[in-house]
Amino acid sequence: MTPERIAFVARVILGLSVSARAETIQVTIDKLVFTPAEVNAKVGDTIEWINKDALVHTATATDGDWNVNIQASQRGQVVMKKPGAAEYYCKLHPNMRGRIVVAP
């Protein structure tokens, strides 16, 4: 095997193993409350919000890193790209707050 070939195989295996470990973590929005209010995730995991309200909401990182618009009775997703604690809120109803703790 050529070094390029080895590198390619390594990337495939690594890629597969990363995607196999990545999870989707669900947060429900019901009557303007994020539940659970705090979730734990790893880098590469997807957070999915399930909006049960008949209202449009957003999940917006307070540091401006990401923003997800979630239509009424729909879902919205974002992939966690960096480790650390991310506080987020709804831009349209800023009294709605949540937190995601992302492990490396």
């Binding site: 009557k31 449009v56 349209l92």
Partner: protein
């Protein structure tokens, strides 16, 4: 002169008198439903005025959010009163809210550009504060039907959100 003065005083009283008088008789469910619906409709009307007059994107987005949310809440309110067979009943509080909103609309109609935007958003902060105070202190505690109380409680959370959103827009306009 006397007529003018008393008319002026009456207007002043109308604008400064608390719409939700303390110690007034406890409102009934049909009255509460009417007040809540009216409060929502008045905010939709205010937002429509903003959409006609404002060119500021943040203000227009906020106004659109108000139309969308209050339309949805009022749709739920109508569905609930239909289900409960409650006939919303007009009352002094609804009438005072309507009069006050009409006066504010006339006042805002005279403003344009940034002056209008600031005045509209400042009034949205004040208006939601008033309605939220009334929900907390009078309307929710007075509601006897559990489902009506629940809808008002959710409404309060939504309108508290609107108040914070309006405060945020107001600070951006400074």
């Amino acid at each position: 002169m006397i007529v003018k003065l008393s008319a002026g005083l009456a207007t002043l009283c109308l604008l400064t008198a608390p719409v939700f008088a303390q110690g007034a008789a406890k409102p009934t469910d049909p009255q509460i439903a009417h007040i809540a619906y009216t409060a929502g409709q008045l905010d939709i009307d205010a937002a429509k005025q903003a959409l006609e007059k404002s060119k500021n994107k943040e203000v227009r987005d906020f106004a659109q959010d108000m139309v969308r949310d209050h339309t949805e809440v009022n749709k739920q309110a109508l569905a609930l009163v239909g289900k409960l067979k409650v006939k919303p009943e007009d009352n002094d509080t609804s009438r005072a809210l309507t009069k006050q909103a009409a006066a504010k609309r006339d006042e805002l109609a005279k403003l344009n550009g940034a002056a209008f935007d600031k005045a509209y958003v400042a009034n949205e902060v004040a208006y939601h504060k008033t309605v939220n105070g009334a929900l907390e202190s009078t309307l929710i505690p007075s509601a006897s039907n559990v489902e009506l109380k629940g809808l008002l409680q959710t409404g309060l959370k939504i309108f508290q959100g609107h108040q914070q959103h309006a405060e945020h827009v107001a600070s951006d306009l400074k």
